[in-house]
């Protein structure tokens, strides 16, 4: 063993890193010498190499060219549709907000409706608004701090 400070396991890991081209210049030379000198390490190297060659024998199936030609277009369509959904959502919020505001204004201005009923309707709408804000805030807060937010629950 050229380096007595390295535990056998560490050497085996370095042999693998050497095979994967993940070692720097000096370390790479050191491991290469070790493999040439020590039959046990040579055996480990050869075994790892055989596995690598076996997996490299498996060639991934090629996709017909036209799929690649259309690939960007599909991504672009998704982006475009995503933007259109955001615009539609904003538009819906504006329209409904306006309608609700108008309805509330007429309700408050209408002298023929019983004030108790008016108060009840206002409280109902106020409660729903608080509920909506609370749910939205919770969703947004979780999204911000949750590192697994891409994983569907």
């Amino acid at each position: 063993m050229s380096n007595p400070l390295l535990k056998p396991d560490e050497i085996e890991l370095k042999i693998m890193a050497y095979l994967d081209g993940e070692l720097g210049g000096d370390e790479s030379i050191e491991i290469k010498k070790l493999i040439e000198k020590d039959s046990r390490y040579k055996q480990i190297y050869e075994s790892l190499k055989r596995v690598q060659e076996a997996t490299h024998d498996m060639k991934l199936k090629k996709l017909p060219e036209f799929y690649w030609d259309e690939y960007w277009q599909h991504v672009y369509n998704r982006i475009e549709r995503g933007i259109s959904w955001i615009i539609i959502s904003i538009g819906t919020i504006v329209v409904f907000g306006f309608l609700i505001w108008n309805a509330l204004s007429s309700l408050i201005a209408d002298q023929t409706i019983n004030p108790i009923l008016k108060g009840g309707i206002l409280l109902l709408i106020f409660g729903l608004l608080i509920l909506l804000i609370s749910v939205l805030r919770e969703k947004l807060m979780i999204r911000k701090v949750d590192k697994y937010n891409e994983v569907e629950r």
């Binding site: 890991l13 993940e22 076996a54 997996t55 991934l60 199936k61 960007w72």
Partner: protein, 184 residues
């Protein structure tokens, strides 16, 4: 600043048209990565395109200086896991509940290697050995050998230290060598 970082910086400033360059650059790797998880071409195309779309949506949160591909890969991997879980759930509803597993073994449903790999003499034999690995071993072998990620990239994707990547990969390869010998 390298090309990727420049493009992302442009996208973050609202010049989104340059995003196409990133898609063209990484589409092949993303597609094949998705193919490994999903096992069929249609799903792989759909999942990889969705990953690019979600990455674009979240581009403002990308920290400049980090590797774009490993970030995209994490999004893609999560999408694939969700896809797998949806299929699994659907299958469980219609089949025997005893078949349910309590871990995410997202390559186990790929029955036919012909969906992923070209016809070669040793294809069935090597695939059989790969399928016998534990899910974590199989994943790291696929990340290294087929997705051709570096140790650093794997460490970022799986959120584990490089030392753990090396030991996990080493034992997975050792196990695969044993299985190849057993099956020969």
């Amino acid at each position: 600043m390298d090309e990727d970082q420049q493009i992302i910086a442009d996208c973050q400033m609202g010049k989104s048209e340059s995003y196409r360059v990133l898609v063209e650059k990484y589409k092949t790797r993303a597609y094949y990565a998705a193919l490994m998880y999903s096992g069929n071409q249609d799903d792989a195309l759909d999942l990889s395109q969705e990953a690019f779309y979600r990455a674009f949506k979240a581009i403002k949160t990308f920290e400049l200086g980090k590797n774009f591909y490993t970030w995209l890969y994490q999004i893609l991997r999560n999408l694939c896991i969700n896809h797998y879980k949806r299929i699994r759930k659907r299958n469980i509803v219609f089949s025997d509940v005893d078949g349910a597993q309590n871990y995410v073994d997202y390559f186990s449903d790929i029955k036919n290697p012909g969906e992923i790999f070209e016809e070669t003499e040793r294809r069935e034999f090597i695939w059989k050995a790969i399928k016998k690995l534990k899910p974590t071993e199989r994943e790291i072998i696929l990340l290294k050998e087929f997705d051709e990620l570096s140790y650093r990239e794997i460490s970022e994707v799986l959120a584990i230290p490089i030392g753990s990547v090396m030991s996990r990969l080493y034992y997975a390869r050792k196990r695969l060598a044993e299985l190849l010998e057993e099956l020969q």
